[in-house]
């Protein structure tokens, strides 16, 4: 029986089949590049991570055991590469397993503005999207990577836990903190937009 994972033939990938590997690169390079770019905020570093991820994947595919999805495996390689770059940039400051107290803790919601009634086009405008991106950039790395994998790359809690070597509980806690912080940041922005619109200025 031919063993396939996500529409790829494992036997061919493990045997170093270039055409099959090329299909794998086509399928996942956009996601890997986006993740790296959002983690690092630096196009050159993101490109390095993209290249290194697929170079390592090609070298190590023969050892891929097929227990996780190929995409999860690729995300794990990419995340490790990106974290390594971040640690090199700021030694001693980037850690996934030793959260800095006060950096990750829960905080009570301060922004109580109901901006849900804003028109969709207001929330999807180019300017709004810039704020959505900027809000992610304000998250500490340990929360940001969890949010990116769960809510942007659409991995499950279990897959995210596998990628990061965390428990599912830790993933859920960090996702919750990330989302609550983003909610605060978006509430500040959209709350302003709401005022502008009510004053007839928007």
């Amino acid at each position: 029986m031919v063993e396939t994972v996500e529409d790829f033939t494992l036997e061919a990938l493990r045997a170093g089949d270039r055409a099959e590997f090329s299909r794998l690169v086509e399928a996942y390079s956009a996601n890997i590049y986006r993740l790296a770019l959002r983690m690092l905020n630096q196009p050159q570093d993101a490109e390095d991570v993209l290249q290194e991820t697929f170079l390592k994947a090609f070298r190590h595919l023969k050892n891929f055991d097929g227990r996780s999805k190929l995409s999860t495996w690729l995300f794990r390689i990419a995340t490790n590469e990106a974290l390594m770059l971040l640690r090199r940039r700021r030694p001693g400051q980037v850690s996934l397993d030793e959260p800095v107290m006060g950096d990750e803790g829960d905080q009570e919601p301060l922004q109580i503005v109901d901006w849900c009634c804003l028109p969709e086009k207001e929330m999807m405008s180019q300017e709004a999207r810039k704020h959505l991106d900027a809000a992610i950039d304000q998250l500490p790395h340990s929360l940001r990577v969890v949010f990116l994998l769960r809510d942007i790359e659409d991995l499950s809690t279990l897959e995210t836990a596998e990628v990061l070597g965390l428990s599912e509980t830790a993933v859920k806690t960090r996702l919750s903190r990330a989302r609550m912080r983003l909610r605060e940041l978006l509430s500040a922005y959209f709350g302003e937009r709401l005022l502008v619109m009510r004053d007839g200025g928007g």
Partner: protein
């Protein structure tokens, strides 16, 4: 929260909101949270805006193609130039 008194278990409830918007909260905590939401306008706003926050990121998260130059360099690095679409 602003001008808003919370009971002692509110912190626990705040921590549960993310699971709640995903529909993954256990029955007991979910019922407790919904009892609280029924009488707490501020928390309803937090839940609604949290749900909207997650929604906005989901709908705007379509992956953009890798810029062509970057893709070209990637395929070159991988020695796959002849197979690039």
């Amino acid at each position: 929260m602003i001008e808003h008194k919370h009971t002692g278990n509110c912190r626990e409830l705040l921590g549960a909101l993310s699971d709640y918007v995903d529909g993954e909260l256990g029955d007991t905590l979910c019922a407790e949270l919904e009892r609280h939401l029924a009488q707490c306008e501020n928390c309803r706003v937090v839940v609604d805006t949290l749900r909207k926050t997650v929604y906005l990121y989901h709908v705007t998260a379509r992956p953009e193609p890798v810029p062509d130059e970057i893709k070209q360099r990637l395929f070159k690095k991988l020695d796959l130039e002849d197979l690039k679409k």
